[in-house]
């Protein structure tokens, strides 16, 4: 049983006109076994939250805490956070020319586990994980994400999720740009991951579409850098019907006061 706890998190980015605060006091607690969906309009800071937890250098945490079972995550480097059990499936996975998927996966697995995977079973594991998301095993020989279609990149993220099997997975708009088949395949991967029972998922999305496949225990509406409302599945259904207008107007009104 693990807990990822975010308390009063404030995050800024540097812009031409100086630092700009994107996250304005985020509170969120995710326990293993739970699936949380964060939904919000464009520019609300959803991705900033994901990248801040993962430790992207672009984002500066100005105050607040993120802890994993009480351990201060923010004092760890990017790779230390991953080794502590965090995983970020990115909206735009990065191409790394000349580094094969096979080499990348083996290196990452070795880093996360602290020892090299058993050669005999590892190749089978990789092939099985790729097969589950309908990726041709030939992808193992290709450069990381190079020349992959949008859907292939997302499926590759799910392969990594399954092989590295972190305690907490943050999925940043993993549903964006996917056709219905790919969306189903990717969602099934996430469901397999959370079905282990002791893994936490933070699913960041703009659309309710993916929530037809992944059933969240908690839905958080994210507006203007903080959580504006929380609820269960019914909140997602309401967003599907009403959209974000109500929250955006409320946030704009609050800012104007």
């Amino acid at each position: 049983m693990s807990t990822l706890e975010i308390r009063d998190l404030h995050v800024s980015v540097n812009t031409e006109s100086g630092p700009k605060e994107i996250l304005k006091g985020v509170d969120l607690t995710i326990r293993s076994g739970e699936v949380h969906a964060i939904m919000g309009p464009n520019g609300s800071g959803k991705s900033t939250l994901a990248y801040s937890i993962a430790g992207h250098p672009k984002y500066a945490v100005t105050s607040g805490t993120v802890t994993l079972d009480g351990q201060d995550i923010l004092s760890l480097s990017v790779d230390e956070r991953a080794r502590a059990g965090l995983f970020l499936a990115m909206q735009y996975p990065v191409e790394v020319p000349g580094v094969s998927v096979a080499n990348f996966l083996r290196t990452a697995k070795t880093a996360v586990d602290g020892e090299a995977p058993k050669l005999r079973t590892w190749v089978k594991e990789v092939n099985a994980a790729m097969d589950r998301v309908q990726m041709d095993p030939e992808f193992a020989n290709r450069s990381v994400n190079e020349g992959f279609s949008g859907g292939e990149k997302k499926r590759h993220e799910i392969v990594q999720l399954e092989l590295l099997n972190p305690h907490f997975a943050i999925l940043d708009e993993t549903d964006s740009g996917l056709d219905i088949d790919a969306l189903r395949i990717v969602s099934e991967g996430v469901n397999r991951f959370s079905a282990q029972g002791d893994r936490g998922v933070l699913l960041i999305t703009h659309y309710t579409r993916i929530l037809r496949y992944i059933k969240p225990d908690f839905v958080h509406v994210f507006v203007a850098g903080r959580v504006a409302e929380q609820g269960g599945q019914e909140l997602a259904e309401r967003l599907e019907a009403e959209g974000y207008d109500r929250y955006v107007r409320a946030a704009a009104g609050a800012a104007a006061e």
Binding site: P57, Y59, S75, S77, A82, V94, V99, A108, A111
Partner: protein, 410 residues
Amino acid sequence: MSVDTRTPVANAGLPGDVPNVAEAVETTIASHLHPVASYDLADHPRPKGLEEVWRFTPLKRLRGLLDAEGVTSGELDLDVQAPATVTTSRISTADVRALGGPAPVDRIAALAVANAPYATLVDIPAEAELDGPVVITVNGRGLESPVFGHLVVRVGAFAQATVVLEHLGSTTYASSVSVLVGDGATVTFAGLQLWADDAVHAGQVALKVGRDAHVRSLSATLGGDLVRLVETAEYAGPGGTVEQLGVYFADAGQHLENRLFVDHNAPHTTSNVDYRGALQGQGAHSVWVGDVLIRKIAEGITTYESNRNLVLTDGCRADSVPNLEIETGEIEGAGHASTTGRFDDEQLFYLRSRGIDESEARRLVVHGFFADIIRRIGVPSIEQRLLAAVEAELAVTVGLPSSDDAGDPA
């Protein structure tokens, strides 16, 4: 670090209002970047160092190679291992000239020809399909006296061959290498400069590409104190393709210079140049100059040249100068690119977000940067050797970029 990226030079070369007509007659063009190719030393006066083609080179570190007129060459230790159908012989400069290969384009290449007591001819017969690579090894035997080497590799029409020219050991070496590729032949030529740290090597590698022939070359320079190679390519007829790949890894104090000149002197020819380098350590200096001349007669050609440099530490300097001279408007495509920079932060973040620590992530990125080129040579034994050599270079990384430590917020 400096980046010197010029805009392409489009020189119509047409007097007044003469239209660009199909029957345009080719005349000798004196490209402003390249002196006339000639066997005559008088055509290659000793440079003072300010000349365009010499300005990047620390002439004093050439150990007198420029002043070696009349010097007796030290013994060239050159070994050829080749399948049985390949013959190796010693021929005279007059014989070489009769073969019709390209003449030297600079003083050091001309001195290599003039001072070498003989030329080594490696002859691959027409229509040969070799069952293994031809491996030519030049062993440097020390710094006592400079060595001058003249090598000609002739590949007959429609032959298919892989030729590896590797340089090992310590020496001061001036070389002239010609690869004469017959019509319709397919050739892979790999020149590996794996010298000891104190070697000095300068010279020319000239590719002559037959009609419809396909040449893929790889120049890999990892060792040596100073290595300056001019790689020229020209065509003996239309339809030829040349792919010139290169990798180099400059360590502290090393000067590695690659100067390319692709002369599109025939129509419907193709060239693709892709050189990549990494630099680390105080005083590491790389120079890449990529000149492409598209002559008036060379209609329907395609060319692209690219140079990318990865600067791993402070104190390095990468000069990268692509030039394109276009004398016909009837080309399929022409372009170039040059980039010099530090690590891509997004690549490092992606790898590190999977638990891979910073130094391992950097190692992976550099490895991939080179593997991307090296694997295109398609000869597994060379790929493995070069990747191992790159790994060895990375193992001695003298320090990580001080201004690139933004990876950890907090």
